[in-house]
C-alpha cells in the first residue's frame, strides 16, 4: 500500500512539473527524492507539495558536496500528513550563490533559511530577515563554518563592530524589558526581549544559540561509533531520542535490520526517558506557578525514575544505551521486575499527587488560559510534540512513521473508526493553553507506562546488536532517522563519507521547531506569567543551539 501511495504521489508531482524535474527516486522505503533541474522552480514545487499534497516542511538540509563533484545541495524535507512518506525536494546551488526563499509561502522555512545563510553562506533571496541567526553579530559574517574548506581548528577573531538589531515596538507607554542571556537559577542561556504595555506583553523576541557547540561540524571529524556519543550529548535530557534517531539513520544506510530485542530495549529506554522528563516538567510547572509543595512531590517521583535509569543503564540520564546496530546492555529478568515495580509505585503516587493538584483551584487557575497558542500559528510554524497536539494537530512520530518496535505496539489507541473520530473531536476541543499541555503530559506518562509494560511482557530472546551494520556502510549514501522525544519529533539526517566517516550530519530537534511558538504564546499574557508559559512549553536551549 505504501509503494502504491508513493507511485500516486510521484505521478501527481510529475504531472505538474514534468519539465522541471530531472528524476524522482524512491529511497530508504519511505523517502521520495525529487531532483530538480534548476533552482528557479524550488518555490513552485515546494508550495505545490505544501498546499496541494498536504505536507509539512519538517527540515531543510544543506550540504557542501563540492568535494564529490557536485555543488551545494539543498534538500527540503516534507512530511505527508498521517502517512509514512517523506518528500525530499533536492536542488543544487552554486558556490556563493543564492536560492529563492520560500519563507513567504511556507513560514516555517524562515529559520532554516537563515541558518543555511550563516553556516554555508548561501543567500535566501526574499527572506525578509537578514539578521544572523546561529552565529551572532560577533562572528565574522564572511566565515561559514559548515563549508568543507573551513577547518574545525580555525580560530576566528571577534568582530566587535556589528550590533544586533531587535525589532522595535514604539508607542506611548511601551517599555522594553531585556531578560537574559544569563538567568537566575540553573538554566541555560537565552535572551528574551519583551515589549510591554504595563504588565501586558505586546511583543516578544527571542535570541538564542548562545550555547552553539558546533555539533554538526564536530561529527564530521569523528568515527561513527563516537558520533553516537556525540548525539547523546546534543541535549542531556533527550539522550535516548537523539542517539536512537542517529543510529536508525545509520542503520537505514546499511540496509540491515537490527535484532528485535535491541529494538525493544530502545523503546523501553525511550519511554523511560519520556516519563522522567514529563515528571520533571510537571514539577517545573508547579514550581513556576508558585506551588512548591506539588513540585517537591513530583520531583521525588522524577528522582525515583532517574534512580531506576541508573539501575537499568548505569546512567541517570540514560547515556550509553544505544550503539550502532543495537544496544549496549541487556535488560535482565531481575531488571525487568525492578522496572515494573518502580513504575507501578511511581504511577500510584503520581495519581495521588495529581488528585491534589487538580483540586487546587489556585494552581489550576494559574494554568487556565495562560500561554494560549492559536491553531493557525502552530501549523504555520510547523510546531511539533505536545504543543502541537494541544491545539488539535495530530502528529506523533511514533504513529506517523512507525519506527523501531513501535509498529508492534498499541501506540495508536484508536483503532476503530468511531474511536478515531472521537479522538479527533477531543483534539479539536483542546485549548492550547498551559492547562491543556499539563493534562496531555499527564496522559502521556500513563501511555508510556502502558507501552513499557507491553514491551517488557513480550521481550524476545535475541542478540543485542547487529555487528554487520558498521561493515555495510557505503560512502555518500544518506538517510533520515527520526524519533519522538518527549518534546516532539526529532530528525537526524546522516550522509556517510569515506572510511565510515560522516560527511554531513544535520540534526533538528523538536525545540528548534517549537521555540518560535513561545513568541506567539505569550502575546496578551502578563510578564509575570512568562516563566510559567515557558516551562509549560518545555523548550531546550541546548537541543536548539546545537
Amino acid at each position: 500500500m505504501n509503494s502504491e501511495n508513493q507511485n500516486n504521489l510521484t505521478v501527481k508531482i510529475l504531472d505538474q512539473f514534468q519539465s522541471k524535474i530531472s528524476e524522482i527516486l524512491p529511497c530508504n522505503s519511505n523517502e521520495i527524492h525529487i531532483l530538480l533541474n534548476d533552482n528557479n522552480s524550488i518555490s513552485d514545487i515546494c508550495t505545490f507539495i505544501h498546499s496541494n499534497l498536504d505536507a509539512r516542511l519538517v527540515m531543510m538540509v544543506c550540504s557542501d558536496e563540492r568535494r564529490i563533484g557536485k555543488k551545494f545541495v539543498l534538500r527540503y524535507i516534507f512530511e505527508r500528513k498521517n502517512e509514512d512518506i517523506f518528500l525530499i525536494v533536492t536542488a543544487d546551488i552554486q558556490e556563493n550563490g543564492s536560492f529563492p526563499s520560500i519563507a513567504s509561502q511556507i513560514s516555517s522555512a524562515y529559520l532554516y533559511e537563515r541558518e543555511i545563510r550563516d553556516m554555508f553562506g548561501l543567500l535566501p533571496k526574499g527572506n525578509p530577515d537578514v539578521r544572523p541567526l546561529v552565529l551572532h553579530e560577533h562572528w565574522d559574517n564572511q566565515i561559514h563554518p559548515l563549508r568543507k574548506d573551513f577547518d574545525l581548528n580555525n580560530k576566528v577573531p571577534l568582530n566587535t563592530e556589528n550590533d544586533y538589531q531587535f525589532l522595535t515596538v514604539e508607542g506611548n507607554e511601551v517599555t522594553q524589558i531585556p531578560v537574559g542571556p544569563v538567568h537566575a537559577g540553573i538554566i541555560e542561556p537565552g535572551h528574551f526581549r519583551f515589549s510591554t504595555m504595563g504588565e501586558i506583553i505586546i511583543n516578544l523576541e527571542t535570541k538564542l544559540f548562545y550555547t552553539h557547540k558546533g555539533i554538526e561540524k564536530l561529527a564530521e571529524k569523528m568515527k561513527i561509533e563516537d558520533a553516537v556519543l556525540l548525539s547523546e550529548r546534543i541535549a542531556g535530557d533527550e539522550s535516548v531520542a537523539n542517539s536512537m534517531a542517529f543510529c536508525q539513520a545509520v542503520e537505514k544506510i546499511s540496509e540491515l535490520k537490527i535484532p528485535k530485542r535491541a529494538e525493544q530495549i530502545r523503546v523501553v529506554c525511550a519511554e523511560l526517558e519520556r516519563t522522567y522528563n514529563h515528571l520533571g516538567t510537571l514539577a517545573g510547572i508547579s514550581t513556576d506557578a508558585g506551588f512548591a509543595f506539588g513540585a517537591s512531590r513530583l520531583n521525588i517521583l522524577k528522582e525515583k525514575m532517574m534512580q531506576l535509569n541508573e539501575k537499568i543503564a548505569g546512567s541517570r540520564i540514560l547515556f550509553g544505551v544505544n550503539i550502532i546496530g543495537g544496544v549496549r546492555s541487556d535488560i535482565s529478568d531481575e531488571q525487568k521486575n525492578t522496572i515494573l515495580n518502580t513504575i507501578g509505585e511511581v504511577s500510584y503516587d503520581f495519581q495521588q499527587v495529581l488528585e491534589m493538584l487538580r483540586q487546587k483551584s489556585s494552581f489550576v487557575d494559574r494554568l487556565k488560559n495562560t500561554g494560549t497558542i492559536q491553531r493557525k500559528d502552530a501549523s504555520d510554524l510547523a510546531t511539533v510534540g505536545i504543543t502541537a497536539r494541544c491545539v488539535g494537530i495530530d502528529i506523533d512520530t511514533r504513529k506517523d512513521h512507525p519506527y523501531s518496535f513501535y509498529p508492534f505496539l498499541n501506540v495508536n489507541k484508536f483503532k476503530t473508526p468511531y474511536k478515531q473520530i472521537q479522538h479527533e473531536v477531543e483534539l479539536q476541543k483542546r485549548d492550547g493553553d498551559a492547562l491543556a499541555r499539563f493534562d496531555l503530559r499527564v496522559e502521556e506518562i500513563s501511555d508510556s507506562v502502558l507501552l513499557i509494560h507491553e514491551t517488557l511482557d513480550d521481550l524476545r530472546a535475541d542478540s543485542l546488536s547487529n555487528h554487520k551494520v558498521i561493515e555495510n556502510l557505503r560512502p555518500y549514501r544518506h538517510a533520515l532517522g527520526y524519533c519522538e522525544s518527549h518534546r516532539g519529533q526529532t530528525l537526524h539526517w546522516v550522509m556517510m563519507g569515506e572510511n565510515n566517516s560522516i560527511y554531513r550530519y544535520k540534526v533538528r530537534t523538536a525545540s528548534f521547531c517549537n521555540w518560535p511558538t513561545i513568541e506567539q504564546a505569550v502575546l496578551n499574557d502578563i510578564v509575570a506569567d512568562f516563566p510559567l508559559v515557558n516551562k509549560s512549553l518545555d523548550l531546550s536551549y541546548s537541543g536548539n543551539d546545537l
Binding site: 524589558i177 531585556p178 537566575a184 537559577g185 506551588f291 512548591a292 489556585s362 502578563i526 509575570a528 512568562f530
Partner: protein
C-alpha cells in the same frame, strides 16, 4: 498618662522592642523550616537567617554606578523606620511607654515611609526588574493601605481609640469573641500576608525575576545593605504578627510590671508568634501564587471583612 511614664516602664518598653528586633529572624527561620519539612526536604537550620545576616555583613557591597544616594540610604531608612515602629507595639506587657509619641497610625506612617523609599530605590538603579517590582508594589500598596486603615478604624471603634496601648489594654479585658474583631482579625491576617510578601501575593522563595514583587525591588542589593533589608523584612513581619496577637488574642499578656506576669507574657507571646508563623508557612504550602491581577480580589476580601465588622458593631 504622664503618671505612668516612669523609668522602669521605659526600660521595659525598650527591652520588648529589642526583643522583637532580635527574635525576628528566628521566626523567618522557623517558617522556612516548616515549609521545607512540609515539602519533604530537610531544610536549613532555624538559625540560618542569623547566619545569613552575619555573612552578609562581612561581605563587600556592589553598588551600581547609575544609582544615587536614594539607593544607598534606603536600607538604613527602612531599618530605622521599621525598628522605630516596634517601639510602639506592646509585646510582653499590654502597654507601650511611647504611646504618648504616637499611635497605630504612626506605625502605618513609618511603614509607608519605608515602602516609599524602597520603591524609589527600586526605580533608582534603573534596572528593569527594579522598575517592574516598584510598579507592582505601588499597585499593591495603593489597595493594601486603604484596607489597613479600614481595619484599624474598625478596631478603634470597638476598643475606643487608635492608641495601641489603649487598644491592647481594653482587648485584654474584653471577652475574646466579638464579631467585629473576628472580622478585623481576618482582615489583618490577609494584610499581613500581603505586606510581608507571602504567598499567594508574592513568592518569597522564587528565583524568577519576572514574577517577583518585593524581591525585584531589592535585587540590586548586596552585602550590608542586603543584610539590613532582609532583617527589616523579618522585623516588619514579627511586628505585624505582634499587633495581630496582642489585639486579637491578647490572653496571657502582662498588665502590670511584675517578674512573674512579664515572664508569662513572654512565654505566651513566643508560643503564639511561633504558632502564627507555622500557620502562615502551612498556608504557603497549600496555595499556589495567584495571578498578579487577581491579587486585588483578595485584598478586597480584607476590606469587605473590616466593613462587615464595622457594620455589625453598629447594628449589634
Amino acid at each position: 498618662m504622664f503618671a505612668d511614664f516612669n523609668a522602669t516602664r521605659v526600660i521595659l518598653g525598650v527591652l520588648q522592642a529589642f526583643l522583637l528586633v532580635l527574635f525576628a529572624p528566628l521566626i523567618t527561620g522557623i517558617m522556612k523550616k516548616v515549609k521545607a519539612r512540609t515539602q519533604k526536604r530537610v531544610g536549613a537550620s532555624i538559625f540560618q537567617p542569623y547566619y545569613d545576616i552575619i555573612k552578609l555583613i562581612k561581605k563587600d557591597e556592589t553598588v551600581s554606578e547609575q544609582s544615587s544616594w536614594v539607593f544607598r540610604l534606603n536600607p538604613w531608612i527602612n531599618f530605622v523606620a521599621i525598628t522605630t515602629a516596634t517601639l510602639f507595639v506592646p509585646v510582653v506587657m499590654a502597654y507601650s511607654p511611647f504611646g504618648i509619641a504616637g499611635d497605630i497610625l504612626l506605625i502605618l506612617g513609618l511603614y509607608g515611609l519605608a515602602r516609599f523609599f524602597l520603591i524609589l530605590a527600586g526605580l533608582d538603579v534603573s534596572s528593569v526588574f527594579g522598575g517592574l517590582g516598584s510598579s507592582r508594589e505601588m499597585m499593591m500598596s495603593s489597595i493594601v493601605e486603604p484596607a489597613i486603615f479600614i481595619m484599624v478604624l474598625s478596631v478603634a471603634i470597638v476598643y475606643g481609640g487608635t492608641d495601641v496601648s489603649t487598644i491592647v489594654n481594653s482587648a485584654a479585658q474584653s471577652p475574646l469573641l466579638i464579631p467585629t474583631t473576628i472580622f478585623a482579625a481576618i482582615s489583618l491576617f490577609i494584610i499581613i500576608l500581603a505586606e510581608t510578601g507571602r504567598l499567594p501575593f508574592d513568592n518569597p522563595a522564587t528565583h524568577l525575576e519576572l514574577t517577583m514583587i518585593h524581591e525585584a525591588m531589592v535585587l540590586e542589593y548586596s552585602g550590608k545593605s542586603l543584610a539590613l533589608i532582609e532583617w527589616s523584612k523579618s522585623i516588619k513581619q514579627i511586628t505585624l504578627l505582634a499587633l495581630l496577637i496582642n489585639i486579637f488574642v491578647p490572653f496571657g499578656i502582662s498588665s502590670d510590671v511584675s517578674a512573674l506576669t512579664l515572664g508569662l507574657g513572654l512565654i505566651s507571646f513566643v508560643i503564639k508568634a511561633v504558632l502564627f508563623g507555622i500557620l502562615i508557612a502551612f498556608l504557603e504550602t497549600r496555595v499556589a501564587k495567584w495571578r498578579l491581577f487577581r491579587i486585588p480580589d483578595l485584598i478586597a476580601i480584607a476590606i469587605a471583612s473590616s466593613l462587615i465588622g464595622t457594620t455589625i458593631f453598629y447594628i449589634g
